[in-house]
Every structure is written in C-alpha cells, then in structure tokens.
Amino acid sequence: MTEVVDTLREPWTFEFMQRALIVAVVIGVVSAVVGSFVILKGMAFIGDALPHASFGGVAIAFVLGANLQLGAAVAAILVALAIGFIGNRGTIRYDTAIGIMFIAGFALGLLVVSRQDGYVVDLFSFVFGNVLGVSWTDVWITVGLGGLVLAVVGLFYKELLFTAYDPSMAAASGLPVNAARYGLLILIAITVVIALQVMGIVLVLAMLVAPPATAQLLTRRLPAMMALGAVFGVVSAVVGLYAAWYADVSASASIVLTATALFALAFLFSPQNGLLRQAHKWEPDRSTEGAAGDA
C-alpha cells in the first residue's frame, strides 16, 4: 500500500513538478470553461489560430528582450480583435478572416526568427510547450490570469450565454452583444496564452476542445458541462504529468492524449449520446417497449 502512495507522491516531491502541476491544473480548468463556449459556437478554428498568431508576438518580444508571454498576449488579443472586427463587417466570412490573420501572425514570427542565428531554445519551447520549465513567476501569472478569466465568465455568464445562444434576441433585449462577443474573443486569447507555455502552439487547441466536448456528451446544461469539462481537464493534466515523470515522455503530448482517451470513452459509452447506447437503441428497446407496455 505504502508503495502505491509513494509512487503517487514521488513526482510532487520535486518543486519543478509542483509548479508544473499547479499550472497544468489551472490551464485544465480555465480551458474547459472558456472552451465550452468555443465548441458551442463552432469556434475551434479560432482556438487553433490564436496560438499560431501569437508566435509573431513571441518572436518580436524575444528580439526586443521583452517578456515572451506578454508578447504572446498582445499578439493574441490584437489578432482576436482583428478577427472579430473583420468578421463583423459581414462581407468576409469569419473563417476567412481567421485564416488570413493567423497565418500572417505566424509568418511574422517566422520572419523575425529567420533573422536570428542558431537554434532559439526559448522560442521553441513556445512551439512545443515546456511544462517542466515553468518558473514561480510563470505560476503566479497563470494563477492570476486564470482566476481573472474565471471571474469574468462568472460575472458576465448571463451575457455570454445569451449572446452565444441567440445573438439577435440578446441584442433586441438590450444586452451589450458586441461587448460580449469581443469579450469572449479576449477571454479565449488570454486562455490560449496561459496555456501556451505548457502545451505549446500546436497542442493548445486540444485543451480548449477535448475536455468540454467530452463533458458535452455527459451533461444537459452549460454550467454542468463547464464543471465536468474542468474535471476532465484536471484529470488529463495530472495523468499526463505522471506519464511524463514515469515514462519519460512529453508532458504536453501525454496530457492531450489523456484528454483524447477520455473523449473516446465518453463517445462510446455515454448513457445518452454514446455510440453503443445509440446502436443499442435500435433493437432491444423496441421489444422491451412492447413488453413493458407503458412507453
């Protein structure tokens, strides 16, 4: 028994693993809450675009010697607002606006990096993520920004929900629909930026999409979907870090694959929406209906 406890405890006796755990848990929770809106509004492409676009900001901050995360944040928020602005005009579709802006941001990053000599380690930790290399400053920034995002979602839940669900009715009711729309884009941008350092540009999207999608299969209402999504996000983070510790594999990749595995389980076995349940519905249900006689 104590062996099991020791095995479970061992990674967290190291401070860099404690830091990794705090950051990964915060990211798991915040990504699931914001990600619920992302998948319900079909905005996954934005979730993919903002991290790529932020690479431009990271690269410029690197050259200027500024804080890389700050550079990522500025770039992600600017691109989010530009996407919202161009998409709102109505003449160009949202996904087109996203496609233009995100490649531009990423290309800017490549352009800047191509002027640098040699392999720029700090920059590439943003591309692939480096959960084991976060500092205490990173931890506090993550906790602070993550708390801020959750507080804003909590305060303006009503406005975000109504705008996401039925924007024209929300506007007619006098809700600040545009503020809610841009606000959501900024929340996504901040979430992406705090997740970047751990997950890396390429894998950030998974945390925004997989845990809330898993929760959607198992819940009926948005608050429950957010809460359960947060649980899946945290479970993925913890399992992923154990895998990284004991199997010596990439932490961010393990976190993503855990989240994907949870999704696959829910997709197959969800009581209401699962693939097996739906296959099952076709045959035996009909016969029991007749037998029970009260359906």
């Binding site: 319900l40 305060l155 303006f156 839940y157 009503k158 406005e159 929900l161 109504f162 996401a164 669900y165 039925d166 024209s168 009715m169 929300a170 506007a171 007619a172 009711s173 006098g174 809700l175 600040p176 959607q216 819940t219 009926r220 209402r221 948005l222 429950a224 979907m225």
Partner: protein, 256 residues
C-alpha cells in the same frame, strides 16, 4: 384605410426604406397596427417580412422613414417588444433546458452582471404554463418537437412581459391541432389588450382569425381587415401569381 380609434397605434411605420448592401428590401412602407389587435404580416418569400420585423425591433437601421412603437421612436436595445424568432434560426443543439431559454426572456430587464431571481423564474414558469409546456421545463431544448420548440419561443416572448409581441412564423410546420391551440393562445393574449404582429405564410389562418392583415411585397400592397385585403386582385399583385380565394361563411380559404 386604417381603423381610427383615436389611440396611439402600437406600431406606426411611415415611408420606411431599408435593405442590404444597396438592395432595397423594403420600399416606402407605410402602415399602422392598432393597439390590442391581432395583425398578420403576409407576403411571399423575400418580400421583406423579416427585415421589417428587425427594423421594428431596432435591430436594423432603416435607410429612411420612421418607425414608432407606442408613439416612441425605436432605439436599439431599449425595446419594449416581445419577440419570437423563426425556429429555424435558433440553435437547438445548445445545452440549455426549456426553462433556461424562457428565463432568457427576462435577461433584458435584469441588468448587467445581476442574475435572474425567484421572480424571474416564476414569470418564466407561468409563461411556460400559458403555452402548455410547463411539464417540459427540465428538458433539453434539442429533445423537443418542432411544435414544442415554437411554443417555447413564444413562452420566452411572453416572459418579456411586453404589450407588443412580434412573432416570426410561429405557425410554420405545426399540425392542425397544434395550430388551433396556438391560435387560441393568440386570441387570449389579444383579449388581455396585448398587440400581436405575426409574420406568417398561412393566409387562411389570417383570413379567418386575425383582425388585421398587412400584405407586403417590398412595399405595402394593402393593409386593413383581412376580408378587404385578401381579394383576388390584391393577392395576385402581392404574390405575383394567381391565388384562389374561397370565401365560405366562417372560414375563408386561400390557396394556389
């Protein structure tokens, strides 16, 4: 042609022009809807019905002309209008329950940041009872039938507690029994001195059950009592094809 009651009309539209990207969807539209009446807005597809409703709600700025609701100019977001959109325009896959959706009708009155309270919940439940949907309150909206979805949207409009209700195609896709129930509800609401302005394709319902009809095809072809509006000539003019009008005692049937 308008029926003079001396009252301020619920909706007064004069010389309204509006459209999209330089194409006029509405041209010199003028009509009034008197308070406390059940008025139908009819016209072929693309005749500007939805655009007109959007302008009345203040969601769309007109190019020119005036729209007054209860004697006051409409302003975006300060609307005292209950609205039920076309069911096809609503995202039914969203993880919200029937009660969640109806409570959204209260959101405009609650104010920023604040949450709906017990009173809002009660008003929403009462609105659901009026459309016979109270027992479905905990259902996810995606699990409802088309007729039930329409009733939920009307309940949400009722929860807004306004004197004027704009309903966009509430009768579409309902079977005869559901249509009958809905018409009875509309009549009850009118008896409470509410004004209902209903966009619909169902000419026969308007002909037999409504007080007023506005016949629209980019411009107002006619408005007034249905029996004056639904003449063979005016209908043919609006629909740009020949429609058959069968006046028969209680019910007037209109069809191609």
């Amino acid at each position: 042609m308008s029926v003079e009651t001396g009252q301020t009309p619920a909706v007064a539209v004069s010389h309204l022009r509006a459209g999209y990207n330089g194409n006029a969807a509405l041209d010199d539209v003028t009509f009034t809807v008197e308070k406390g009446c059940l008025a139908g807005l009819v016209g072929p597809n693309g005749s500007g019905k939805s655009t007109l409703l959007q302008v009345i709600m203040g969601l769309k700025k007109p190019w020119s002309g005036e729209v007054e609701v209860s004697g006051r100019k409409v302003k975006v977001g300060h609307s005292s209008i209950g609205y039920a959109p076309q069911a096809e325009l609503v995202d039914w896959s969203f993880p919200v329950t029937v009660l969640d959706v109806v409570i959204m009708g209260r959101y405009g009155k609650i104010g920023l940041v604040r949450r709906p309270g017990e009173v809002d919940r009660e008003i929403a439940l009462h609105s659901l009872e009026r459309v016979n949907m109270a027992e479905f309150r905990e259902r996810r909206v995606g699990e409802l039938s088309g007729g039930q979805q329409r009733r939920v949207l009307i309940a949400r409009a009722l929860a807004q507690e306004t004197d004027l209700l704009l309903l966009d195609e509430p009768l579409a896709g309902l079977d005869a029994a559901a249509q009958h129930d809905l018409l009875r509800l509309l009549e009850d609401l009118r008896k409470e001195d509410r004004t209902l302005f209903v966009a619909t394709h169902d000419l026969s319902c308007v002909a037999s059950d409504f007080d007023h009809a506005v016949l629209l095809n980019r411009r107002v072809v006619a408005f007034g009592r249905p029996k004056d509006v639904f003449t063979a000539e005016l209908l043919s003019e609006a629909f740009e094809r020949h429609l058959l009008v069968l006046p028969g005692g209680e019910r007037t049937l209109v069809g191609p």
